[in-house]
């Protein structure tokens, strides 16, 4: 047989076999693994890649999953899942600290009330915080004042959100 012809036949058989194997491999793999891996693009030193989620989103996700007192990394930095008010409440449980936090919570609640967005339970929480101080239970007072201040802060955020977005559910 012609040597060239033999080489050609061997090459054709090899190609056919290779294609057959490739097809088999594709069929046998689960669909989920078919997608090619994402292309890794190195960020340029002058322009770092934007994080996939905002710090707020990362905070809320971690807070929802782990509660307070948890640490998480975001954009190369370490953060905790504590609200600012909880950090304030973690000070030493003294009368002075409890009174200071209660005073700032009352001021914040007055601010949200002025906007017309005070929450229903906040006033009672503030009263309970004062009662806790009167009874010498300063840690409880700190916790309650922190809760009330958090209500007020989110109420203020809610007000600003409402100003910008109230129209979204108006039928047209």
């Amino acid at each position: 047989m012609n040597k060239g012809l033999i080489i050609a036949i061997v090459l054709i058989v090899a190609v056919v076999l290779f294609m057959t194997q490739s097809d088999k491999k594709e069929v046998s793999e689960p669909a989920m693994t078919k997608a090619p891996p994402p292309v890794q693009v190195e960020p340029s030193p002058a322009e770092p890649a934007a994080p996939e989620v905002s710090l707020q989103e990362a905070f809320e996700m971690n807070r929802a999953m782990y509660g307070k007192g948890h640490s998480f990394a975001w954009n190369g930095e370490q953060h905790t899942t504590d609200h600012p008010e909880e950090i304030e409440a973690s000070k030493e449980a003294t009368q002075a600290n409890a009174e200071a936090l209660l005073a700032s919570a009352m001021a914040k609640n007055a601010e949200v009330a002025k906007l017309g967005f005070e929450w229903k339970l906040t006033g009672d929480i503030l009263k309970k915080a004062q009662q806790s101080i009167d009874q010498g239970n300063f840690q409880q007072a700190l916790n309650l004042a922190a809760q009330a201040k958090y209500h007020a802060r989110i109420g203020i955020e809610q007000y600003h959100y409402a100003q910008a977005n109230w129209h979204l559910s108006v039928p047209e």
Binding site: A113, G116, F117, E118, W119, K120, L121, T122, G123, H151, Q158, Y161, A162, Q163, W166, H167, L168, S169, V170, P171, E172
Partner: protein, 288 residues
């Protein structure tokens, strides 16, 4: 938890579809158009509940939920507000210490005028409600004002509503007074703004959430909301005013409620009543 998830999902779907329909005008003094708002609201409910006639929205949730309607119709055979209407008539006709009475304070002797409230008072630059003028009638005649939410004021209001049944709401927003339009816009904004710890607007329950279950309750449609007030609510076991209900709704979203007859609530009533223009007064009503 499953109920909450289902509700949240339903509201999210309804809100998303509604947000897609929201246009980019009608939200400030330059573009607000009460009549366009009213027609848009009617069209919204026509699309949501095509089987319901617009005129039937005066019956609240009973216009769109057949099961609730059946129970309500049974209830209406012996209306729970009947004694209150009788008491209201008696109070209305009892002269003040100076010999005058409520009939002296109102147009047409106070008979058949409920559907004209609230209205814009140009001289005072504010929205006036029926209950507000009932109390003003008292103080003008050296009588003590009544408590706003329930009791005698609701009974007198119920009697006045009874004499106005089937009269068509035609709330006016005078074109020559920008303050009236501002009051309407303020009420509209209040209705659609989310507030409270549960982050709910009036619209979340009474537009997008209409007839979507919140635990065992079905929120009523905003269209026709004011026509049947004051109402005898089974939950209260008594008659109450519209502003009492506003306070209750406000609490339900875990907001600190405003006081009845504050300017904000009166503006809200102005907006809501304009939305019911063309519908008939059918108060007092009976509700769950």
């Amino acid at each position: 938890m499953k109920i909450i998830k289902t509700l949240a999902l339903n509201l999210a779907v309804a809100s998303a579809s509604q947000a897609a329909l929201a246009a980019d005008s009608g939200f400030d003094m330059q573009t607000v158009d009460p009549e366009a708002d009213r027609i848009a609201l009617q069209n919204y409910f026509k699309a949501r509940f095509p089987e319901t006639e617009i005129a039937d929205y005066v019956n609240g949730i009973y216009a769109v939920d057949a099961g609730s309607r059946e129970q309500w119709e049974e209830l209406e055979e012996f209306p729970p507000y009947e004694f209150d209407v009788e008491k209201g008539e008696e109070l209305f006709n009892t002269p003040f210490a100076n010999g005058k009475g409520y009939a002296d304070c109102f147009e047409n002797g106070g008979i058949g005028i409920r559907h004209k409230y609230p209205y814009w008072n140009k001289d005072e630059g504010t929205v006036k409600t029926l209950e507000q003028e009932i109390n003003e009638c008292r103080t003008d005649n050296d009588e003590e004002p009544l408590a706003w939410g329930k009791g005698a004021i609701a009974q007198i209001s119920a009697y006045m509503a009874w004499t106005s049944r089937d009269k068509v709401f035609d709330i006016q927003i005078p074109a020559d007074d920008e303050r009236a339009k501002a009051a309407y816009l303020d009420g509209k904004k209040f209705f659609y703004a989310k507030r409270g710890q549960l982050n709910l607007s009036c619209a979340n329950c009474h537009v997008q959430g209409t007839n979507i279950r919140i635990r065992a309750d079905l929120p009523s449609p905003q269209l026709g909301h004011v026509t049947h007030f004051p109402v005898f609510r089974s939950k209260w076991g008594a008659l109450g005013t519209l502003h009492r209900r506003y306070s209750g709704c406000h609490k339900d979203s875990r907001s600190k409620p405003l006081k009845p007859q504050t300017e904000t609530f009166r503006n809200l009533e102005y907006f809501q009543s304009y939305m019911s223009n063309g519908l008939v007064a059918n108060g007092p009503g009976a509700r769950k």
